[in-house]
Amino acid sequence: MTKMTIPFVDLAGQFRNIESELTTAFLDIGRSGVYIMGERLDSFELKAADYCDVKHAIGVGHGSDALFLILKALDVGPGDEVITATNSFIASAWVVAATGATPVLVDVAEDFNIEPALIEAAITEKTRAIIPVHLTGRPAPMDEINSLAERHGLHVVEDAAQAIGARYRGRRVGSLGVAAGFSLHPLKNLGVYGDGGLITTNDDKLASKLRVLRNHGLRNRDECEVWGFNSRLDSMQAAFAEIKLGFLDSWNERCRAIAVKYQTGLADFVQVPLDQAWEECVYHNFVIRTEKRDELMAYLLEHGVDTRIHYPIPIHLQDAAKDLGYKVGNFPNAEKYAKTMISLPIYPELSDAQVDYITQSVKSFFDELGKK
């Protein structure tokens, strides 16, 4: 097998494929002098709302702000508690802390998503909301979570940062809770060239409130309705996002096809993520599990394949969380996965030959291990 060098991401590849569209948009915006809000943002918001099957899409500064602003708009603050998954990017928890509320962490299931059976035990009188994270692009078990939330009178805010385009029982993520936060960070399935984020909701009142909150709380140029924030999706980034949205389904399909190849090729060697009948994961990450994690990572790197761990330290064991009082052993699944997970490269520009090479390299690792 000839050695290949396969990066974990290939943003330049995607850029070259759509460069002429991006350049045209950029130069148009350059000439227009409208760099904040404006038609480009309006247009992207309308298309994103249609894409996610919701009434409102609201562009914001980034994915973390999307969640933070939703929580603020729901009046979550000091003294409140918000439940989220401990195996996630750190932002899922700090957005809660940033409102003054306390993040309450819960362990995850085999699919890396929050375990609904464990949520109930974490609910207290102070709980105001649940933030299920659609980790790796796989929808969290929303039916169970929504029925729990309904029983306890809680808001469900989707952390859809990694999951744009994913479906759960035929419905797009972003339409499955009171509101959802998406990230448009460059590494996401729909990524811009800097920080960007998006909120979706079907709630008219919440949407109006969010549009005011993200723009200094302004009712109009001269009147400030509420002391707000400044968290806007730059017009330029909105234009890039709109162009890319046109390709998103085909890109996601390609990622799903790559996932199937990995699943078929690797199931005998490692734990591979699998789709349930009711879900359509968009594979922002393809995370396998093996007891030989560190050795496999080193082997792959040696063979030119760049991999990552999402995430090596669960949130409850981060320094930042020390005041929350968690300790090792609190969330055995997340802790076990943190030691056994690897994310393999997965992006639309990855060729079949590259996928085969990666698959083959994983197999060779285990073959050689068997011989030892």
């Binding site: 709302a49 800097g194 723009n215 924030f229 981060q318």
Partner: protein, 382 residues
């Protein structure tokens, strides 16, 4: 069906047909192909999320500010918010500031969890230092002077008070790049200084952006953590923090303009001086107090005038984009209802808000255009 209802201020509209405009971005960025070529390199390199261009801008910005550190962030608002949080300002604390500012100053204080405590302003539209001391309580944590329109506040007086009461000073220098106070740059005034790169600022980018300057190593380290999820490296989170980064491609724009900042500033100052000179004799107009030891950079050129609304309408009808920055002071905003202020609490701020008008002085305004504006104003009062 999808719905949008976004509020877009007039100054951004593409079809603004006024001849003499506040918005000059199409002229300023007539070389946008050059900028795109530079941004393209960043995109191809995949150098997002801070990255080389941000590092370089921070070094260059610290240098022009004469400070040890500059930290790029998401916006001027975030610069203030993060500065307050880095100082530990939060729930139950009070921050003393001016009643005459842009909403973001107050939004940042409130977002940090603190209570804004307002002071009236002086004849220079800046916080009146004589008002500050009476507002200090055990809960006061910081003074937040706003260098309004690009004119530094009376920092000697403010520093004495801050020192006496052991308070931090966070400078809202969003209007004040290149301004100086007794030879000191706006970036070096106070514990921390906050700048905006909003598209309509003297140094601007193509979206939101901001930067914080400070001489404190400790605060700089903390701010670098706080703006990037509290992360040290990729995987270790030292504190629950925030995400507020200056986009790498926006740092490209800022660096592109940084070389032109002296020209931008000097043009504005020259245009403002000319308006001052020509309008001083108009008896219906009051030019704000100017100080010889302060270099004011005129992000906004505002004066007070009689029959303000009529004059503004007259100028607009005649193709001059006259604006009001801003007609309602902070304590009278609906958002301030909970603070219990009423009309009359800050009479100078209210008076300025009622009578101020702003004229365009950016670098693309010509002498002919200025003469035209002056002629119109004189004709209006005649």
């Amino acid at each position: 069906m999808a719905i949008t209802e976004n509020f877009l201020p007039e100054q951004y509209r593409q079809n603004n047909k006024l001849g003499i405009n506040h918005n000059y971005l199409d002229q300023q960025f007539s070389d946008h192909e050059v900028i795109w070529a530079k941004m393209r390199e960043v995109v191809i390199r995949g150098d997002f999320t801070l990255g080389t261009e941000v590092d370089l801008l921070e070094k260059e910005y610290a240098k022009i500010s004469g400070t040890n550190h500059a930290i790029g962030v998401g916006s001027g608002t975030d610069a203030i918010f993060l500065s307050l949080r880095a100082l530990g300002v939060g729930e139950g604390d009070e921050v003393i500031t001016t009643a005459f500012t842009f909403y973001a100053t107050i939004g940042a204080i409130v977002t940090a969890g603190a209570k804004p405590v307002f002071c009236d302003i002086g004849a220079d539209y800046n916080i009146d230092p004589l008002e500050i001391e009476a507002k200090i309580t055990p809960a006061t944590k910081a003074i937040l002077p706003v260098h309004w329109s690009g004119k530094p506040c009376d920092m000697d007086a403010i520093e004495v008070i801050a020192q006496k009461h052991n308070l931090a000073i966070v400078g809202d220098a969003c209007h004040a790049i290149s301004a100086t106070y007794k030879g000191r740059t706006a970036g070096s005034l106070g514990t921390l200084a906050c700048f905006s790169f909003h598209p309509l600022k003297n140094l601007n980018v193509w979206g939101d952006g901001g930067i914080i300057t400070t001489n404190s190593d400790e605060l700089a380290d903390k701010l670098r953590l706080m703006r990037n999820h509290g992360l040290v490296g990729r995987d270790e989170c030292h504190m629950f923090a925030y995400n507020s980064r200056l986009d790498t491609i926006q740092a490209v724009v800022a660096r592109h303009l940084l070389g032109k900042i002296n020209h931008i500033t000097e043009s504005r100052v020259a245009h403002a001086d000319y308006f001052d000179q020509e309008l001083r004799s108009v008896e219906q107009i009051i030019i704000p107090k100017r100080d010889t030891d302060i270099y004011q950079v005129y992000h906004i050129y505002s004066i007070c005038c009689q029959r303000r609304s009529e004059l503004q309408n007259y100028l607009i009808e005649n193709g001059v984009d006259a604006k009001v920055h801003y007609p309602i002071p902070m304590h009278l905003q609906p958002a301030a209802d909970y603070l219990g202020h009423k009309k009359g609490d800050f009479p100078i701020a209210e008076n300025i808000a009622d009578n101020t008008i702003s004229l365009p002085v950016h670098e693309f305004i010509s002498r002919d255009q200025q003469d035209h504006v002056i002629k119109l104003i004189k004709a209006f009062y005649d």
